[in-house]
Symmetry: C2
Subunit: 432 residues, 2 copies
């Protein structure tokens, strides 16, 4: 087993792990040398990580986390109960004292902020040092094999306040005697430690960066985020958005067990079912109108489908723009008014179309007009709901992405039906 | 204007451009020095790019594209008509002969493959050269300012076949006299030129790479893809997936005009409307059953909502897994069987729940059972549709992501209604 595993790349083992049972996963981890095992644990899917962390002895787990990049180790610690966290940290304390403190510091930051994804390990030089100093610093770090993927050495002043970047290539192109402050890059991007990870991703992408420094409130350098962490963030956020629209959980995109999938998907279906039952109650309430004109029932699917579609269209745009920081509070009203203008025109086009079809089909213009008017109002209301719900959730500090999918669809079904049948009843009262 | 603009970072100008009219965009581009203008054009949103490219004189555009990274220049050329492409390429030919040929070569590759996102500009050394040779090569390239973001120098043999990577740090840590082949990294990832961009993104993310070499069929080195291109790919694909689910176009996530949004969203709404009208026709067909038991109409929203939800859940998972290359043809049947198992259990849970509620509400177990059975079958069929449609589209080489959203929802509405009302009619025939 050990010999067999040693011939396979750790990343491939990490990939294959999801096909094994919990016990088998632990056996694989225990058969690997510590350095490979830590790569496997760091790179495997979230479900496998949970399984392994749950089953592994805390001593072994401590050793593995000690081997790992600290940002990855913190990701794993973050998912544990406080008691278990302390137990593991105590294990790490035994072998490398400072390391556990570094991890404790990192655990303070919320998982989805710059602080939560940064690594505190980085290379710094003072601005009054020389390129030669930076060079020996780099060589030393490289021999100790402590810091990977160095693209920039960070330049600080004597108070550890960030004042520039020294790209790796500076060590090659400048003479050893040059002063760091004379050749450093002083026009650079940085992010505060509390910045949302999606905004960080946006900045890194916009400026095509490979690493970005993280600073505290006094602009003191506290860590760096590398592009590979950003790739993970973007992928994670994309899956999150998609899972919200589709009503599946994020784990489903990585794991395999049927029973887990059922447990994950059924709540969303039950929300849909609940919405359907509320809809049924509403239709029941208008039974008299329906008995009079059964044809009203034919157009219920039109109303629910269109309300859902128009609402999700608006939500998707707003959620995406909120996520990338494209919407500022002062533009909220202008966004809403823009969406309403779009809804007005889309509603007009669809309603005219529906009015024509229904009039031709049933040979009754009044009925056609009634259905068309209802559709117009449903699209308008659905858009207002689809636009406002994410904005409201955001202002309550709840992830606006949960507004997409079953939530907006269901509430628009309900509102749409009440509107449609309400208008219909009024018409019947006056015209029939 | 020129002085004002020169004080602002090009990336910020690129960002602000979308708020301007077409003419204003062109004025801004023309007021900027060539190097800033090319950054602005490369970094701005797709809509602004189109506007500018349309309005700008071909001579100026040629100069701008000549200044740009070749992978970005090709992105812009790709969106032009063949005639316009040739006109611009002829302009580029005038000033830098070889450059236009490089761009012509790149234009052959489909936009969403490794070839479509790679840049052919890179540093290569022969394996028999020394670190000293590599060092002077790097310094020369850096002075000419031709290649940005060098993380690796690529090592080739005399036939230009890729045989290793030389990370930038090798130039710092090894002595000048070392042979490249003795210190190069010969355990590395690479991708064939025709590989799908989403698979490339998956590999880069999995192995935490900063650049990856691209090779042709003979493993000859033809280009490199850097992590910043991969960030763009992941973002683009995420927006694409999201726009398909929500039924909006990708441009909507970046551009501003109300009329354009209407034009983009209305086709999806009309698909929904068409589905609704088909649904109305189906319900019309079962008018007799509905007259007998009006309560059947109450549960139409349940059927359509649940069919849509269950279908989109399956589609989202399948589409994501297809995109990352996680599903191989031989597993198709096992995926389908897995989704059916999930649907079976989810259907059972939801149906039991609905049967209970309807039985209690209407005091009629037979009616409750009928509704529950219909729901069970609708969830099962919707899952099969939601799973198979993306798989079928993929096998026809059509982007499976278009299956999500209105398409699957609408077809499941229609199938679900026929099933529901069909079963209901049969029951009425035998039991009422």
């Amino acid at each position: 087993m050990k010999i067999f595993l040693s011939t396979i790349e750790p990343v491939r083992i990490a990939d294959a792990l999801k096909f094994l049972s919990e016990e088998e996963k632990v056996i694989v981890i225990n058969s690997l040398p510590l350095d490979s095992a830590s790569v496997v644990l760091g790179e495997t899917d979230e479900q496998s990580q949970e399984d392994i962390v749950e089953e592994l002895e805390s001593e072994k787990l401590g050793q593995l986390l000690d081997e790992m990049d600290s940002d990855d180790a913190v990701d794993i610690l973050d998912d544990l109960e406080p008691d278990d966290q302390e137990e593991i940290l105590a294990e790490i304390d035994k072998s490398s004292k400072g390391r556990a403190d570094v991890l404790r510091d990192l655990l303070q930051y919320p998982e989805d902020t710059a602080g939560g994804i940064m690594a505190p390990e980085l290379l710094t030089v003072y601005q009054c040092q020389t390129i030669g100093d930076a060079l020996s610093l780099f060589k030393e770090a490289n021999e100790n094999d402590k810091i990977e993927d160095i693209h920039n050495i960070f330049v600080v002043d004597k108070h550890h306040i960030l004042c520039g970047l020294l790209p790796l290539k500076s060590l090659i192109i400048y003479s050893n005697r040059k002063l760091v402050k004379d050749v450093m890059n002083s026009d650079y991007q940085y992010v505060p430690v509390e910045e949302d990870q999606e905004v960080v991703a946006h900045i890194v992408r916009k400026y095509d960066l490979y690493s970005i420094p993280v600073v505290d409130g006094d602009k003191k350098l506290v860590g760096r985020i590398t592009a590979d962490d950003i790739l993970d963030v973007i992928d994670e956020e994309a899956i999150e958005d998609m899972s919200h629209i589709a009503g599946v959980t994020q784990e489903e995109f990585t794991e395999e067990s049927v029973l887990r999938s059922v447990r994950n998907r059924v709540p969303w279906l039950l929300i849909g079912l609940f919405g359907g039952i509320v809809s049924a109650t509403i239709i029941n309430f208008f039974e008299d109108s329906l008995k009079l004109i059964l044809a009203l029932a034919f157009f219920v699917p039109v109303v629910t489908a269109m309300g859902g579609n128009a609402g999700v269209q608006s939500s998707a745009i707003i959620v995406k723009r909120l996520a990338t920081g494209d919407i500022h509070p002062q533009y909220l009203l202008s966004r809403l008014s823009r969406e309403i203008q779009i809804a007005f025109l889309n509603g007009l086009i669809c309603s005219t179309f529906l009015t024509l079809i229904v009039t031709l089909w049933r040979g009754d213009f009044l009925f056609g007009f009634l259905i068309g008017l209802a559709l117009f109002l449903v699209i308008l209301i659905a858009t207002v709901v689809g636009t406002s719900v994410p904005l409201i959730l955001k202002s309550l500090d709840i992830d606006p992405a949960i507004a997409m999918g079953p939530f907006v669809t269901t509430s628009n079904d309900v509102v749409g039906l009440m509107l449609y049948l309400g208008i219909a009843s009024l018409f019947i009262k006056f015209f029939y």
